[in-house]
Symmetry: C2
Subunit: 486 residues, 2 copies
């Protein structure tokens, strides 16, 4: 365990609360958890590439003879759901704090009508887990993305009130059309205004045909995990960038899984392709005004350090403006346990490789290495602030029980007014509070003028334009400033 001055923080580490495991066990299609006679642990099957093997075993009815090595998915061990196991893992690897999150695919598969309540239950489970290990655990909450817009916005009001919540984990689908979907912009605004960073995490990878005819039988999970995941993340962020989402929501902060997928390496090519494409030439009237992808990387994006090599880590630091301030250590626990007959209670190579990369790239014991290993996470995620919102009025909020939603409507509502090219320090939101929304969905009547102006400008420029985002804004009307409680 490191000293109090130099905390080690794991920002990429997953858990499955009991309610979520039950949900997965009840399912017939992926994602699902299923027991096989031939294996001790149940298997968690999430990848489309695994479906064929799953169906084959189910059809044969002879799963007892299948060795674990050839069963689809991955074993669901106590590492998936036990707090004690998580703490043992942390102690073994010298990790002081873990910012736990539900793993993919989160609630993407939950029916719209159920999503709000499921998200709330999962967040309450996470709150209890963090409370049970006070000071060792914080969490990224999960949003009910399939729910109606008002439920989704209300969920932000809920998680914002939870003492240990430090942001949200998000996949790449958004509301179904990706993260460049204008309909998602109000959600991103709400997250930004409430200082809830997004931990962007892949799940869907790439269509399985790109792996070729031999992949499923011969390459295990390597291609979808090693390539599909980081490519999915890269595509999602590039789409956001091209749509102007980072400009539209300048206070949005994103932590990208797996050191940004491949974004640090491809940023130059993205810049060149944009600079040479007629669609992005700034029009005949003058100079392009867009920020470069490099600027966005330096101003709105953080990268986890889950990259398994010095080569990649150095590139990630390089792409972050040459500073280690935007890299945050992570483990991806409980995935990638020791292979073969390795000791799952001992050191995990998947962790030590990443720690070694930090030491190798920045020097063991250096101030820069300490930042990546935990200092940045403490600062960026404000891990020692009792009140995550900074307003100092919410002691005890997390104690609420089901049905006690008195304080859930408390949200910060000032939509970002700063420009993305301002310095980080200047861009902190001047938060203000709204009236509590108790029995009914009380909302402020303030419509953020700046937001309206920017939206209009965006429409005129043809970036964030078209129907969905504006119709959602219209529908919500003056609700934009506040959030109904669930």
């Amino acid at each position: 365990m490191s000293s109090s001055k130099s905390k080690v923080v794991d920002v990429h580490t997953h858990m499955y609360p009991p309610a979520y495991v039950e949900l997965l066990e009840s399912r017939k299609t992926i994602p699902l958890i299923r027991r096989f006679a031939g294996a001790d642990d149940p298997r968690y099957v999430i990848l489309p590439a695994e479906v064929e093997a799953l169906e084959k075993i189910i059809a044969s009815g002879d799963d007892a003879s299948s060795s674990a090595a050839h069963l689809p998915g991955r074993p669901v061990t106590s590492h998936f759901s036990s707090i004690e196991q998580k703490l043992h893992f942390m102690d073994t690897h010298g990790i002081d704090i873990s910012v736990i999150s539900l793993a993919n695919p989160w609630l993407d598969f939950v029916a719209s009508a159920d999503a709000g309540e499921t998200a709330k239950t999962v967040s309450q489970d996470f709150s209890r887990m963090c409370e049970a290990a006070e000071g060792r655990l914080y969490f990224f909450a999960t949003l009910p993305l399939t729910a109606p817009p008002e439920t989704l916005l209300a969920s932000i009001g809920h998680i914002r009130s939870l003492r240990y919540c430090r942001g949200v984990i998000l996949g790449t689908t958004g509301l179904g059309n990706g993260l460049d979907d204008p309909a998602l912009v109000p959600i991103l605004h709400a997250l930004a205004a409430n200082r809830l960073p997004i931990f962007l995490h892949p799940h869907y990878g790439l269509p399985s045909e790109v792996w070729g005819p031999r992949a499923t039988e011969e390459y295990g999970h390597v291609l979808p995990l090693a390539l599909g995941f980081p490519m999915e993340t890269t595509i999602a962020v590039a789409r956001m960038y091209l749509a102007g989402v980072f400009d539209a929501v300048p206070d949005l902060r994103m932590l990208l899984a797996h050191s940004g997928g491949t974004l640090p390496f491809l940023a130059g090519r993205i810049e060149s392709c944009v600079a040479h494409d007629a669609h992005f030439d700034g029009g005949s009237s003058g100079t392009p005004t867009r920020r470069t992808i490099w600027q966005v990387l330096r101003e709105q994006i953080y990268l986890d350090a889950v990259i398994y090599s010095e080569v990649g880590l150095r590139a990630a630091i390089d792409a972050s403006g040459g500073t280690p301030d935007r890299l945050l250590f992570g483990t991806d626990h409980p995935f990638f346990p020791p292979p073969r007959d390795g000791d799952a209670q001992g050191l995990w190579e998947s962790v030590t490789w990443n720690a070694a990369a930090v030491k190798g790239a920045l020097g063991e014991g250096s101030a820069a290495a300490a930042k990546v290993m935990g200092g940045n996470a403490v600062e960026v995620l404000r891990l020692y602030e009792e009140d995550r919102s900074g307003a100092g009025e919410e002691d005890g909020v997390v104690e609420e029980e089901e049905g006690d939603s008195d304080r859930e409507g408390e949200v910060e509502t000032v939509v970002a007014t700063t420009k993305g090219d301002k310095k980080e320090e200047e861009s902190k939101v001047e938060a203000k509070k709204v009236e509590e929304a108790k029995e009914e969905q009380k909302v402020t009547e303030e419509k953020p003028e700046k937001e309206e102006e920017e939206g209009k400008k965006g429409r005129e420029e043809g970036r964030i334009e078209g129907g969905p985002v504006w119709s959602v804004l219209d529908m919500l009307g003056t609700q934009l400033g506040g959030f109904p409680s669930i």
Copy 2:
């Protein structure tokens, strides 16, 4: 122009010989070249994502009113086919030598029966172009991949005899099932034995649905070009690695377009995923024996320097073992011309960005920068050897006319016997000649015993196994050592 001691060489630069342009103009489906009333230059349409726009304009019958900015594809200027234009471009940018290649999608769409002859014609065109600019141009040839195996092997016999040919440009489809297809191994052996490196270049990108619903209308070509291309290359090489192709053909040398796609950044994750996957655990009997992807990068792979950033270039050098010896400067001319109203006869930013990245990463005027800018290409591609094969007996071979195939059968036939983990210097093939194949397809009766042993071992190990490769070997029988002439 640089001094004779420090040549600048462009290894990634395309041309379209007249015969290929005619072929494209005659086509109704992509790839095709088509004239529109609203634009001066015809348009070259190659990307699946462009098909919708193309069909819309054709259906409307009103292509006169479409501004060039909204036409599908890219303009076919003199930069595509004029030697004078290529030399002007080279002089403008201080490039001494260009190793030209046909651009994607090469001959992938040509009917099987025509492919052999088309490939031969194209290679002869390239030979004449190089001859017309003696000392300034060399070329990567194009293989007739859709042709029957014996035609394909014969084509290697043909290009191997061409004075200016220094390798082949290859897409990622191989014979239709990717580059991890066992049926391709004999072709790779033949290329390796004849010291013909492969310049691996993307074309197909990723399935268009990954770009989302807004991409085609709003993001131009950015996503398929900036992300789809490098991701395709990465997937292709990863599949080869997982299939054991680099071990099966240890003398294979590949130059990867766009600095390896994303391979340098993702190599660590690939290693970790392989190390943690039950399919690659070396079995119960002992230690895994595979080389790491890092070893393959250091031993069999070269990367072009077409990456548009110091960040990416440094990572590429890092991934190559920290040496600049495996990076080769390129331009991607004639793609990415100056945007807007830029002067296509002046400096191209798409070139200067890459040159600046080399200077920035390695120091202007440094020996390391000189290597990347041309020294490596001169050495790796042997640009000053009169006789590419090193045997010194083929003066005048390129003078052959159609029907004069006397010397085309001259090929080097020793299939690689060195191990991939030997030092580079040790692994050079001890080439030997076969008898000329004149009227008929004379072939040697020598069956390379080592090859047979390795193949058997490979089958037993279950790596390069199964039907296709062995049935091709059986079919070719003792022909493996030689190549029939076309």
